[in-house]
Symmetry: C2
Subunit: 428 residues, 2 copies
Amino acid sequence: MELLLKNCAQVLTQDKTRNILKDTDILIKDGIIKELGKNLSTAGKIIDCKDKLVMPGLINTHNHLAMSLFKGYGDDMPLDRWLQEKIWPAEAKLDDGSVRYGTLFALMEMIKTGTTCFSDMYLSSGAVLSAARSTDIRGFVAYGMIDLGNPEKTESEIKEANLFLKNFKSDKTGLIRPMLGPHSPYTCSRDLLEKTKKLARKNNLQIHIHVSETQKEIDDSIKAKGMRPVEYLNDIGFLDKNTIMAHACHLSEDEIALIKKSGARISHNPTSNMKLATGGAMPLKELMDAKIPVGLGTDGSASNNSLDLMGEMKVCALLHKFADNDPETASAQTVLDLATIGGAKVLGLEDKIGSIEIGKQADIILIDLNDTTMIPDHNSVSNIVYSATGSCVDTTIVNGKILMENKILTTIDQKTVIEKVKEFASKI
Amino acid sequence: MELLLKNCAQVLTQDKTRNILKDTDILIKDGIIKELGKNLSTAGKIIDCKDKLVMPGLINTHNHLAMSLFKGYGDDMPLDRWLQEKIWPAEAKLDDGSVRYGTLFALMEMIKTGTTCFSDMYLSSGAVLSAARSTDIRGFVAYGMIDLGNPEKTESEIKEANLFLKNFKSDKTGLIRPMLGPHSPYTCSRDLLEKTKKLARKNNLQIHIHVSETQKEIDDSIKAKGMRPVEYLNDIGFLDKNTIMAHACHLSEDEIALIKKSGARISHNPTSNMKLATGGAMPLKELMDAKIPVGLGTDGSASNNSLDLMGEMKVCALLHKFADNDPETASAQTVLDLATIGGAKVLGLEDKIGSIEIGKQADIILIDLNDTTMIPDHNSVSNIVYSATGSCVDTTIVNGKILMENKILTTIDQKTVIEKVKEFASKI
């Protein structure tokens, strides 16, 4: 199956040299970028891109998709009250059906705003998996685990995780992959973390875990374990290149060295961290200097309250310029890298996605250069990061398949999803 | 002339009690909100609002409209290099024609994203004035002044200011009003500031001035004048209720007391301050506690790079939660107030705009409740501030006149404006 993106006005390749191509064709065959050049032809579908900026699809490395059901349900509250008074009681009302539609609603927002790959961690993983597969987006579904130190729960979580993996039948596209998602070092026992790591190593899987989100977590860890969270994870042999740590707002120099040595990766969630006032900005500059892979995430809609990575890129740049008191830090190009090739590295997919290069999978978005936010065009990377929002995306392609064309979704029944989400929301 | 907004699903009135009305009609006659209630009728135009959230138009209290021509032209640079290497050389190429189209382009973006009142300070005020009037938006055009301590320039600026006021013929709508815009206490001599204040008092005009944007400005002021900038302005009798200070990032307790006593007002520009790393957040909580009027501004597109106040509200909330390390500060309602009734107070128009109340002028926007960002609807104020972007605005009304309906602009020839902006941008 072929698809030709014809006369692309600009292609932000995000390749090694960050090359920007002008007036270029992109030929996609069987989901793979086959050719980049002029005057290419095809017997397949052609999209006229003469008014389009073409770039790699955005990669959202940390999410709780179905929490889109709780968007706006509790804001402007401290994390502990927010969880205890709002989120946990609401989550008690979830079932597979509501998780399915919450997931689809989140993916709808993502596809509309140019995200082509997600990494989720939540409940009812089976429902998440089947919802995600139905959309043909790319992503990772983690089976989320918490034992709060209860040994019976440890055993049941590991049993459930094994079941999740056993039932996880790969389909031929391989678009959705499994992960394991122990919630955090403070909600999971050492036993659960060790057993999860063993299971992950046996199955060659990545682990997605919250680490060092708040100052309180650091203080509690030192009090309980005599170590900071990353030191503790290193101590129990948990850190390796298959470990993805979400947040990591509070890292000591020694911890950054431990992360570097282990090969672990970071998902940065600037809006969520600012909104929940987690007490400090993730040390982006230090992590970049150490060449540790960092990607961007929105976190769930309950703590952001948007899944639009275009907006997230701007907040990311603003946060670090403010926190470092340096207008030159977190440049537009740096931040665009986080949301594309950086995210691909975090997810271990840098050979497959994150840039537009021959041989890579065709995860590509088209942006309308006639959108007010893209005019004037002194610097299109700057326009993408500082001016645009996800609403300037008009076409989203994953693995060569069009999931949205001219703002019309092709794989999600938007009307039904919205009805179901409204119905569930009215009950909580 | 009548306009009836029929069956509004929700009306965020932003009145004193922040009342939210459901299933309400709004009758507008000759630009004024005449009735709020059920089953109203009209012989005039009717807009069906059963899927709309209806709210006061947003108010942008600090802008340099025509700098939309320089959006993305210089980013990720320190303020001094940005001005010297990028902005000043580019501004040298401006003329009335380019300022006209830059202004129209900015107003286009504002109307599209729900802004109904602006406050501008720039060059070529005549061109700004005529462009703004042609759109039927509400706003203030300030004649911008700088003398850099040169007495000849002081005289010529005051002469030009007089001429600007003389030529400023009010039209019958009174939508566009004049202000005086001495750039700042560090670029204007004491003589210029005093003469400007005198001229403003004589004509009962407001003054729009940059104050205490960067730490360097504070340090330089103490060195040169033995006083901080607000102390200095107070000392020379410059502060009163007709003084609007943009930025005000760095304020001492004493300065906050001086502002309070004088009645002066503040325009807060969070994105611009973060992007340019001005060295600290405006003390929002302290200013609110002192009940000093504070409004929101985007600053110009060269330092933001967006004029979308929906996005600005989110950045504002995030900044203060982060800076104060407090998730409860800068709540969604607080921030919505800044962008509506707060802005009206700053501009001295709290009796006319900023809320939807009988007798006020009809500056109203309609938001599509079927937009993904507005679903689910646990809390519409939260959705507006944390989830929505300006792209969910579909209709913008100023003084009872529709400037955009279903995303179609009615007073601006979008195609011509875009062509002219692209043409000028290609020359710098």
